[in-house]
């Protein structure tokens, strides 16, 4: 056990905003400006459509260019949030996946409490038109939805980033203190757990019939993503699976 496994009195960094498969460089630049209005400066990019670095993003970020210089670029959402403890996904409408759904204010209150307890928080933002895929949302613990006019939704990427950043600035950390106190597993640990189960279940012929396999995998991954699993939970779940297989195989 290293000293880092002991509860730390130090707060974690401010939330990381993860822009997933953004299309226009201009919108990435606009998102950087929106963030920096509220003193958020940790940006990550997942597979930006037009590659990286992008001169149009830089042009539009005027004054907030530092965020782009320091932005990490990742190939997948899972990699982008691997070192995070708690992940929110922003979506306009909640699709079939089972997840807690929060308004921005409640989510950022909770995020403040998580940060204060040393937890690393990330917020996912989808591409301009389509929004996040279910595969991305499955990797999040909870969903943030902006309470817009049910007849009219026209928030662009920078505006969505702006509202969440604004609520972060306003939040007072009065969110779920119990959640903040949990020794949460990091996202990479959850991802590996999810892979472990999926692989063994696949070998066991669980994902049947064939045409339903992808949907079944998504439901499972979504469950692992949602649960506030601790490190101990993850270890135990790995161990349970290993033990069952050992028994089955006559080990």
């Amino acid at each position: 056990m290293s000293e880092s496994s002991a509860p730390t009195p130090n707060a974690a960094p401010d939330p990381t905003f993860v822009l997933v498969r953004s299309q226009m460089g201009e919108n990435i630049g606009g998102a950087a400006r929106a963030m920096w209005n509220f003193e958020l400066d940790r940006m990550r990019l997942v597979a930006p459509r037009d590659g990286w670095p992008n001169p149009r993003a830089v042009a539009l970020a005027s004054g907030a260019g530092r965020l782009l210089d320091q932005a990490g670029v990742f190939e997948s959402t899972a990699e982008a949030v691997a070192d995070c403890d708690y992940v929110y996904a922003t979506t306009a409408r909640v699709r079939g996946l089972t997840k807690p759904v929060l308004e921005p204010a409640d989510a950022m209150d909770e995020a403040r409490a998580l940060k204060a307890a040393g937890k690393k928080v990330a917020v996912l933002f989808g591409p301009e038109r389509a929004g996040l895929e279910n595969e991305d949302v499955a990797r999040a613990n909870a969903i943030i939805t902006v309470p817009v006019n049910p007849e009219f939704y026209s928030l662009n990427l920078a505006q969505c980033v702006l509202l969440i950043a604004y609520e972060w600035r306003r939040a007072r950390g009065s969110g779920d203190g119990a959640l903040a106190q949990i020794e949460l597993a990091s996202r990479i640990e959850v991802e590996k757990l999810s892979d472990h189960y999926e692989q063994r279940l696949d070998e066991a012929g669980y994902f049947f019939p064939e045409q339903k396999a992808e949907g079944m995998k998504l439901v499972l991954r979504n469950m692992w993503g949602r649960l506030p699993l601790t490190r101990a939970d993850v270890q135990m779940l790995h161990g349970m699976l290993r033990q069952i297989l050992r028994k089955r195989d006559g080990g």
Copy 2:
């Protein structure tokens, strides 16, 4: 006394957003979209730079074009808010004028309470770069400032409109109930009171020396604008001034 002077159980309409001397039609269209995301549809325009109607505003308002069709156009801020009971001015930085300064959430809580008590509320938004002039702010009861990064402010017009509209949607009307219960004078009544005093004071040589006159007039107009004057207050203040002058002239 007509029946309308009795306290009414009916709520007033939602707040009117007044765009003062907006420059780009695109931004007026973007502001309309931002408002309609949160079900606000009452827009007024003061002297839009490129005239009205503006086809570029229509093009950018896609889906919220009705707001533009119904927007009233006025030559001055005073005329645009004449029939309102309580006016907020949005500014990035608070200049010399003495006014209550509120964050968007507190202002919209208060505005909800005012609406519930039958008061007509307006919010002023300045032109893109320069923001509102002191002459505009002087006509408001209070100032709304978005709590941004002191080192970085880059909210555009539609984003500023978006944040206030978002807070309107969130607000629960838990604001200053005492203020909402007051039988506030309308802005046109306050404007006329202000004119009355300015004219008589001017005749009395009050605005002296010459080079300070404009500044003194602004300070005075700002005070009238700020005070939560009732109809009765306004009548009394008119009467006081008339009486003083009558006495002076030996009437």
